[in-house]
């Protein structure tokens, strides 16, 4: 069973769906009649960037880079077909995407703090634990785990400035991820998590990079957020009711995040 198909444990992506509405979690992970998830181009690019930065030696084994051809012409079409046949079993990337991966990798690997953090460690190690407080089985797969028990997460973003990335943290609940993963690592290893760092890298030139951590206050608040989601998840699982949004007519607060 792959990391994503194991639904006996909840991940941070699962918590995000619970946070939106439990019905979304059900649809994505539990509904036997739901159509299979398609791998969108954005997902493919994301995985390729992660592979290039964190496991560059694996890149050639997983991805095949297509020739630069004009697929509108007959010759171009033929060349592309030939490439697809030759690249069987690998994920195909067009040359623009491959160049993008390379530029991002170079930028991250050149950035001193990122270079230091990625010097030694393991990519995509699966962590499994049980949240003691709520009694729910959880899982996580940090991008990078160092031997000193430091978690590193690579985020590609439009804007890696402190202000821009803070917006991403709020929008995608990266704070919840940091708290959930840190606590999970401690529960799974019995050792203190020595830090959770984000490597934020912009996906357009000049591919600027920054490394961030969150303060104790934000992590504490994030911990409360994920525990609330875990509790909702537990109650849904026990009752078998995966609710949607509020059924009563609700006042919309347009300025609240």
């Amino acid at each position: 069973m792959s990391y994503h198909t194991n639904t006996s444990r909840i991940s941070k992506s699962g918590l995000d769906l619970i946070n939106r509405a439990p019905a979304h979690y059900y649809e994505r992970y539990l509904n036997p009649n739901a159509p299979p998830q398609k791998e969108t181009p954005a997902l493919v690019i994301g995985s390729a960037v992660h592979c290039a930065v964190l496991e560059p030696e694996e890149f050639g084994k997983r991805y095949a880079v297509g020739p630069r051809v004009d697929k509108r012409t007959k010759q171009g079409k033929e060349e592309w077909e030939a490439f697809l046949i030759a690249a069987e079993g690998l994920t195909c990337l067009d040359s623009e995407t491959a160049t993008l991966c390379e530029r991002i990798m170079e930028s991250v690997r050149r950035f001193p703090a990122a270079k230091y953090l990625l010097k030694e460690g393991q990519a995509e190690k699966v962590i499994e634990w049980t949240d003691e407080a709520i009694d729910v089985d959880c899982k996580a797969r940090p991008d990078w785990l160092t031997p000193d028990n430091i978690i590193v997460d690579l985020k590609t973003t439009e804007d890696a400035s402190p202000r821009g990335f803070a917006q991403s943290v709020r929008k995608y609940r990266y704070d919840v991820q940091a708290a959930f993963y840190s606590d999970g690592l401690e529960a799974a290893t019995g050792k203190e998590c020595e830090g959770f760092f984000f490597i934020a890298v912009e996906k357009s030139p000049p591919f600027l990079c920054a490394v961030y951590f969150l303060g104790a206050d934000d992590l504490l608040e994030a911990r409360q957020k994920y525990q609330k989601n875990l509790l909702t998840y537990k109650l849904c699982k026990e009752s078998g009711i995966w609710s949607g949004y509020s059924e009563i007519v609700t006042k919309l607060e347009i300025w609240k995040p």
């Binding site: 230091y116 000193d148 959770f196 951590f213 303060g215 104790a216």
Partner: protein
């Protein structure tokens, strides 16, 4: 009730134990009080519409023989931990009836809290707190540290907390003062300094 002149003393009755409010018979009643209190506009925000927090404050007030509102005003939740306001600790020590009013002995760099045990006449001295200690413990170097802007007050607050912890731990009920919690909570993981010193040894 004892009337006192000193402003740091609380006008409260001797601590009375009304029995644990978490006993089944009392719990229902306490919960009803908590509901009413938590809907009041006068309680601090962390208790407003929060019956659970209010119930905890009620339990503490009951154990201390103090008014629930007073406990709520002085029990702060800092970084998720309940803690006492330092001035409340001083007031509680002064009004607990066992000591004379707390005096602070020291200078601009150090301070200790001193009081006389009323029963034995013995002079009790709390541990000395110094700016050197604050520096060594890292309280002084934290961003926005009150030890930099108001060292005299922080010395006295900490001296009182140490005195209380040593001679009347039951007054603090095993909790720290808000200032202590702020001082000891790390603002960043230790690994941050390690990384920054490695990549920029001069910085």
């Amino acid at each position: 009730m004892e009337t006192v002149n000193n402003t740091t003393e609380l006008t409260t009755t001797e601590p009375v134990n009304n029995g644990p409010i978490f006993a089944p018979a009392q719990f229902e009643h306490a919960q009803r009080i908590a509901k009413v209190l938590s809907s009041s506009d006068l309680v601090p925000t962390q208790y407003k519409n929060n019956v659970a927090n209010t119930l905890v404050a009620l339990e503490m007030a009951n154990r201390m023989g103090a008014s629930p509102l007073m406990v709520m005003q002085n029990l702060h939740i800092i970084h998720g931990r309940p803690s006492w306001g330092s001035s409340f600790i001083i007031a509680s020590l002064n009004s607990c009836g066992r000591f004379t009013t707390l005096r602070f002995v020291g200078d601009a760099n150090k301070c200790k809290a001193v009081a006389t045990d009323k029963a034995t006449g013995e002079v009790l001295e709390g541990p000395t707190v110094s700016l050197e200690m604050a520096k060594a413990e890292g309280w002084l170097t934290k961003t926005g540290s009150k030890w930099v802007t108001m060292p005299e007050l922080m010395l006295k607050y900490r001296a009182a907390a140490f005195f209380g912890r040593l001679y009347a731990p039951e007054v603090l009920m095993g909790m720290q003062t808000s200032e202590e919690v702020i001082d000891i909570t790390p603002i960043q993981p230790a690994s941050v300094d390690a990384i920054n010193s490695k990549i920029n040894p001069k910085g």
